[in-house]
């Protein structure tokens, strides 16, 4: 069980102007990063529990089972801003859940670091193939000190019309290796909300 108050508390502390402007001592900056990181980690557990609950209810209604396998652990990737994510780099199949915190529908462009220029299939919840694009990660990002990633490419797709204050999950799977041209080739996107 995660503690929502850990992030609430961190955000309260980080209202101080030092945390916004950088006028704190370096050790304090490290401490701000620590409490924020711990708060986010707690909320990750909350999200995992919430998704697990929703999925379990649907699964239970469908086939009488009430427990979702523990193998389906939902995580966040805080280093996506430097194109680094162990989950997308090391797994051949994974689910991307995109949550829209706004009260109106939005379209979000999902960018996921992946290792190779393989062919990826992205399926929406209805099973329709999404248009995807693979782009090499910029050398400027690859050489950031401390970045520890095997990703050479970013898989991009459009999460269209995400419901207000709601989420949609996309199933991503890696296919056989192909040449760069076919990886760039788009599949037809016919899905309409």
């Amino acid at each position: 069980r995660g503690d929502l108050n850990a992030l609430r508390s961190a955000m309260g502390v980080l209202q101080h102007h030092d945390a916004i402007t950088g006028t704190e001592k370096q050790l304090v900056a490290f401490d701000y990063a620590r409490i924020l990181s711990e708060g986010i980690a707690q909320c990750e557990l909350v999200v995992d529990a919430a998704l697990r609950k929703i999925i379990t209810q649907k699964k239970a209604a469908k086939d009488g089972e009430s427990k979702l396998d523990d193998q389906f652990q939902t995580v966040t990737c805080p280093l996506l801003n430097i194109s680094q994510c162990a989950t997308t780099e090391d797994n051949k199949a994974f689910v991307v859940t995109v949550y829209n915190p706004l009260s109106k529908p939005v379209t979000h462009y999902v960018r996921l670091p992946v290792k190779d220029n393989l062919n990826y299939t992205v399926l929406c919840p209805m099973g329709k193939k999404q248009v995807t694009q693979l782009i090499p990660i910029s050398d400027g990002v690859k050489r950031i000190p401390g970045r520890a990633s095997k990703a050479g490419y970013e898989l991009v797709f459009r999460a269209k019309n995400l419901p207000p204050l709601g989420f949609r999950s996309y199933y991503v799977s890696q296919n056989a290796k192909t040449d760069e041209d076919s990886a760039f080739a788009a599949t037809q996107d016919n899905y309409v909300l």
């Binding site: 966040t76 994510c85 689910v95 400027g140 000190p145 991009v156």
Partner: protein, 283 residues
């Protein structure tokens, strides 16, 4: 080696010249010349005993007064361009610590400038304050607008304060204002805005110009209380790298508002590894 256009006439489009430099932006029948460069100001150094000897530091931005130094020398960098069905982008490497990617998504009416700055070198013992500057032909007549903590836009006039006669001794930092989310210039025909992904300092030091400070590394305390130079390090003493985004819009204030909401409360990504199960099983 060729000019390229990111986007199309239905949305904001950007022209990038053969060296990877922005040269124009257009939206429908609106168009502006647009130049973008990255510079640094050298931070002032003093003993802090008098105001005139105050060092640039964590609390104050105080350049030496000299012209900023160009970092984005387009003739020395490398440029790579990628176009596809979802996004078109140009990746530009200027040096081993300055790079950026200019990106235009197919259905969007804004362009992204993703900058990566750092670790800022200090082997020359000069503190550096890095800015991204956009130059347009908009006749802004000394006026620019910055947001007030994400609320209303406030009118700023260069070298002017509304309630007293200003004798500005520091022409650069004296015209800097906080930019929490947006800075705008406009004339009768066009409005050009830069939305930020984090709070930055910004200004319009010349008509048609917008500049934003994206990273700083300084070697002296400014004696305002922190007691340390703003010289952040990580990974065994290497300076920090800052990576962020500017969102460029031209023309449509209504689109800017929704864009700001989308970026302020951006969608969240969660990932669930699903080894050994098919889509049908997951569904």
């Amino acid at each position: 080696g060729e000019k390229t256009v990111l986007g199309n006439h239905m949305s904001l489009s950007l022209t990038v010249d053969e060296n990877g430099a922005l040269s124009a932006a257009s939206f429908g029948d609106r168009s502006v010349s647009l130049k973008q460069d990255i510079y640094y100001y050298a931070g002032a150094v003093g003993d802090n005993r008098e105001f005139k000897n105050r060092s640039s530091g964590a609390y104050i931005f105080r350049p030496t007064g000299a012209e900023p130094i160009l970092l984005s020398d387009n003739t020395k960098g490398s440029v790579k361009q990628y176009k596809g069905p979802i996004v078109e982008e140009v990746q530009i490497i200027y040096s081993d610590w300055v790079s950026q990617t200019i990106r235009k998504y197919e259905d969007e009416q804004y362009a992204e400038v993703n900058w990566v700055i750092g670790p800022i070198p200090i082997y020359d013992n000069i503190g550096k304050e890095i800015i991204v500057r956009y130059d347009t032909d908009i006749k802004s007549d000394k006026v620019f607008y910055t947001d007030s903590n994400g609320r209303e836009m406030l009118k700023r006039v260069r070298d002017f304060r509304p309630t007293w006669q200003l004798q500005l001794t520091e022409k650069i930092s004296g015209n800097y204002y906080p930019v929490t989310s947006k800075i705008t210039i406009k004339d009768d025909k066009n409005q050009f805005s830069v939305l930020t992904d984090r709070a930055q300092g910004g200004s319009s030091l010349k008509d048609g110009q917008i500049e934003l400070m994206v990273h700083r590394r300084l070697l002296h305390d400014d004696a305002f209380g922190v007691g340390e130079a703003l010289n952040e390090t990580a990974f065994g003493g290497i300076g920090l790298v800052a990576a962020g985004t500017h969102y460029l819009t031209l023309g449509l204030p209504s689109a800017e508002k929704f864009l700001a909401q989308r970026k302020l409360m951006d969608s969240w990504i969660f990932l669930t590894p699903t080894p050994n199960i098919t889509f049908d099983q997951w569904q």
